[in-house]
C-alpha cells in the first residue's frame, strides 16, 4: 500500500487550496450575512475558476475536464470543501457525472455547455413522500405515442433555481419481482421553460447559507422521447452506474471543513491563556485535540481508501457508505469540539466555526442519511453469512 501523494497530487492540492483561500474565503462573510450569492459574484469567481482549470475538473480530459483519477478528484473536493458550500458549488461547479451517460446529441446539448460553464445542471429524485425510500416515488411519466407526459412534485432539489435544466427521475411503470411489485424508474432531461414544468422556491434551511433548494412541479409536462437519459425504465441503473461516487464527494468536502475547523481550534489552544497557562496545556483541551485529530485521520483513511478502490474497480457499496458515515459524523464532532475549545467566541460569527457547525448538520442527512449508510454496511455483513 502506498499512502503518499504524487507530485501532481500535491500541486493540485496547493492550487486548489490557494484558490479557495484567495478567491472564496473573502466572500464567505457576505454570503453568510445576506444568504444570497449575487449573480455578478458567481460570474466573477467562475471566470477565475475556469482560467485555473478548476471548473468542472471532475470531468474526464477527453470532454474538457482535468482527467483526475478518483483519489486526486477527492483531494480536490476536500480542498474545495474547506470553503462555504454555496460558493464552491456554484462558482467551481462539478457537473454531474450522469451527464456522461447521455447520447452524443444529449452530450452536445447538456454535458459540454456545463463543462464550459455556459449551463448548469441539477438532479431531481426526492419527493415529499419519497426520501430515503426513493423507489416509492409518485411523480410519474406515462408514454403517449412518441412522447412522455410527466406529472408530480419533487422537493429539496438543490440548485434548481440556477440550473438551466433538470435531470429528473420518474416512476414509469411497475414490474413483478420475487419480493412483490416494484416501480420502474426512468430518467429525463427537462429544460427550463418546457411547458408544464415549473420551479418554485423551496425551504430556508439551517445549513449552507446561499445554497438553495427548490420545489419542482410537473403538470402534464410533455417531452419527446429524445429527452430520456439512458434506457427507458432503467433510471436507477444509470444513476447507480454514474452517481456512485457522490457519497465520497460529500465525505471529502467534510474532511476539508473539519481540517479548517481543527486548524482554528489547535491555534487557539496554543495561544489562549487562562489560569496562567495556554489552554492547550490543560488535559481537558489537549485530549479533545488528540481525539479530533485521530477522528480526522480515520475519516481521511476511509475516504481515500474507498477512492483508491474505486479506481481499482474493487470498491463496494459498504466501503463508500463507511467513508460517508465516518466523514460526516467526524465533521459534526470536530466542529462541535472546536467550538467548545473556543468557548463563547466559537459561537460568534467572527470565526467560521458556528457556520461549519451548522453546515455539518445536513451532511449526515443528504446523499443518504447516516442510518441508510449503516443499513448498507450491515446488510452486506449479514448477507455474507446468509442473513
Amino acid at each position: 500500500m502506498q499512502f503518499g501523494l504524487s507530485e501532481e497530487q500535491r500541486l493540485i492540492v496547493d492550487t486548489t487550496r490557494a484558490f479557495v483561500e484567495n478567491e472564496l474565503y473573502p466572500h464567505e462573510a457576505e454570503v453568510e450575512r445576506t444568504g444570497v450569492l449575487r449573480p455578478e459574484l458567481i460570474a466573477e469567481i467562475k471566470a477565475k475558476a475556469i482560467a485555473a482549470g478548476l471548473y468542472a475538473a471532475n470531468m474526464p480530459a477527453d470532454v474538457g475536464g482535468a482527467g483526475l483519477d478518483t483519489v486526486t478528484w477527492l483531494l480536490y473536493e476536500k480542498e474545495l470543501g474547506r470553503a462555504s458550500y454555496a460558493l464552491h458549488w456554484n462558482c467551481v461547479a462539478r457537473p454531474s457525472n450522469i451527464l456522461l451517460a447521455g447520447t452524443p446529441e444529449q452530450r452536445e446539448r447538456y454535458l459540454f455547455p456545463c463543462i464550459r460553464g455556459e449551463k448548469s445542471d441539477c438532479l431531481a429524485m426526492t419527493e415529499p413522500n419519497a426520501g430515503s425510500d426513493l423507489r416509492s416515488m409518485q411523480a410519474s411519466a406515462v408514454q403517449d405515442g412518441d412522447d412522455w407526459v410527466l406529472n408530480g412534485t419533487k422537493h429539496f432539489i438543490s440548485h434548481a433555481d440556477m440550473a438551466d435544466f433538470v435531470i429528473t427521475f420518474m416512476a414509469s411503470g411497475e414490474e413483478d419481482t420475487p419480493r412483490g411489485k416494484r416501480k420502474k424508474i426512468t430518467a429525463f432531461f427537462v429544460d427550463k421553460g418546457t411547458p408544464g414544468f415549473s420551479v418554485r422556491d423551496g425551504y430556508q434551511n439551517v445549513s449552507h447559507r446561499g445554497y438553495t433548494n427548490s420545489v419542482l412541479e410537473f403538470d402534464d409536462c410533455r417531452l419527446p422521447k429524445q429527452q430520456v437519459l439512458g434506457e427507458v425504465h432503467k433510471g436507477f441503473e444509470v444513476a447507480n452506474a454514474w452517481l456512485g461516487a457522490t457519497r465520497l464527494q460529500v465525505a471529502a468536502t467534510c474532511l476539508g471543513r473539519a481540517e479548517r475547523a481543527f486548524g482554528h481550534a489547535v491555534s487557539y489552544a496554543a495561544e489562549r491563556k487562562q489560569f496562567g497557562q495556554q489552554i492547550g496545556k490543560f488535559q481537558g483541551v489537549s485530549f479533545k485535540l488528540a481525539d479530533m485529530a485521530t477522528e480526522m485521520k480515520a475519516a481521511n483513511l476511509l475516504v481515500f481508501e474507498a477512492g483508491w478502490k474505486y479506481d481499482q474497480g474493487t470498491v463496494t457499496d459498504e466501503d463508500m457508505a463507511m467513508a460517508k458515515l465516518k466523514a460526516t459524523e467526524m465533521l459534526a464532532f470536530v466542529a462541535d469540539e472546536a467550538i467548545q475549545i473556543y468557548g463563547g467566541m466559537g459561537l460568534m460569527n467572527d470565526l467560521p466555526l458556528e457556520r461549519i457547525w451548522r453546515d455539518a448538520r445536513v451532511e449526515r442527512i443528504w446523499e443518504g442519511t447516516s442510518e441508510i449508510q449503516r443499513h448498507i454496511i450491515s446488510r452486506a455483513l449479514l448477507r455474507a453469512v446468509g442473513g
Binding site: L11, D14, T15, A57, G67
Partner: protein, 248 residues
C-alpha cells in the same frame, strides 16, 4: 529569445517559522514548502512576455535538494517550457547560486534572466545583482513594470521615494518586485501535462561552479517579542517620553 527564470524552494509564506533547537537554522522537517513568491511573479512575467510574442522559450532553473523538482513542476504547470534542477544538499548561498546561474546562462544563452528580487527565507537580495556582475550584464532591480522592445528593456523600478524608469541594453538581468503582476494559478489540466515537460537534473560541477558554503552561520534566534507599551496622559507627556527614550 530564451528567458531564464531561477526559482527557489522556500518555506511557505503562511508557515510560522520556528528556529531549530540547536540554533543552527530554522526547522525544515515536515514544513510546507513552496515557490518563493517573488519567483512566482518572475515566472508569471516570463509567461506574459511569451504570450506577447517577445519570448520563444522559458527555462526555469532551481538550485536545491531533490524536492526542488516540485517547485520546478509548479513553474512548468504555470507555463514554463522546460526545467533544470541543479541538485545540491548544501545551503544555497547567493554567490554560489550566482556562479551556478552564470554557468547556466553560458550554456543556455538566454537573452533575459528574470528572477525574484529576493527569497523570503534569507531575504538576501543579492543573487540578481551578483549574477549581473559576474556576467557583466545590465541589471534592472525591483521591477514593477517590464517592457521589451528589440534589444532594449525598459524597466520601471520601485526605489525610495518613487519610481525610476531605466533602459537596459539586452541581454539583461531583471529582478522583480511585488507589484509587477499577479501570478496565475497552475491550472489543473496544466499540472497533469507538466509531467511530460522536460526536466534535466544537473550538478553545480556541470556548470563549472561549486556551492560549498562561503558563509558561516553563527547563530539563529527568534526575534524578541514586543514589549508592552505605556499609556500617556497627554501630548506633553508623550513628547517628553519620546525625548527621554531618545527617539526625538
Amino acid at each position: 529569445m530564451k528567458v531564464l527564470v531561477p526559482v527557489k524552494r522556500v518555506v511557505d509564506a503562511n508557515v510560522k517559522v520556528r528556529v531549530k533547537g540547536d540554533g543552527s537554522g530554522v526547522e525544515l522537517a515536515n514544513v510546507k514548502m513552496a515557490m518563493n513568491p517573488f519567483d512566482e511573479i518572475a515566472v508569471e512575467e516570463a509567461i506574459r512576455l511569451k504570450d506577447a510574442g517577445k519570448v520563444e522559450e522559458i527555462i526555469v532553473v532551481s538550485i536545491g535538494p531533490a524536492q526542488a523538482q516540485e517547485t520546478l513542476r509548479t513553474a512548468l504547470a504555470m507555463g514554463a517550457d522546460r526545467a533544470i534542477l541543479v541538485k545540491t544538499d548544501e545551503t544555497a548561498e547567493p554567490l554560489g547560486v550566482a556562479k551556478v546561474l552564470k554557468g547556466v546562462v553560458d550554456a543556455e544563452k538566454p537573452g533575459l534572466v528574470i528572477l525574484g528580487k529576493q527569497a523570503i527565507d534569507d531575504d538576501a537580495n543579492q543573487t540578481g545583482q551578483m549574477l549581473a556582475a559576474l556576467l557583466g550584464w545590465a541589471q534592472g532591480t525591483f521591477a514593477s513594470k517590464v517592457e521589451i522592445n528589440g534589444d532594449k528593456a525598459k524597466v520601471t523600478r520601485e526605489v525610495d521615494g518613487g519610481l525610476q524608469t531605466i533602459d537596459l541594453k539586452m541581454p539583461a538581468i531583471v529582478t522583480v518586485d511585488l507589484r509587477l503582476n499577479q501570478p496565475r494559478y497552475a491550472s489543473l489540466p496544466n499540472i497533469m501535462k507538466a509531467k511530460k515537460k522536460p526536466l534535466d537534473e544537473k550538478s553545480a560541477a556541470d556548470f563549472g561552479a561549486d556551492l560549498k558554503p562561503r558563509l558561516k552561520v553563527v547563530k539563529t534566534e527568534e526575534p524578541g517579542g514586543r514589549k508592552a507599551g505605556v499609556k500617556v496622559k497627554d501630548v506633553a507627556e508623550l513628547v517628553s517620553s519620546l525625548k527621554s527614550a531618545g527617539v526625538i
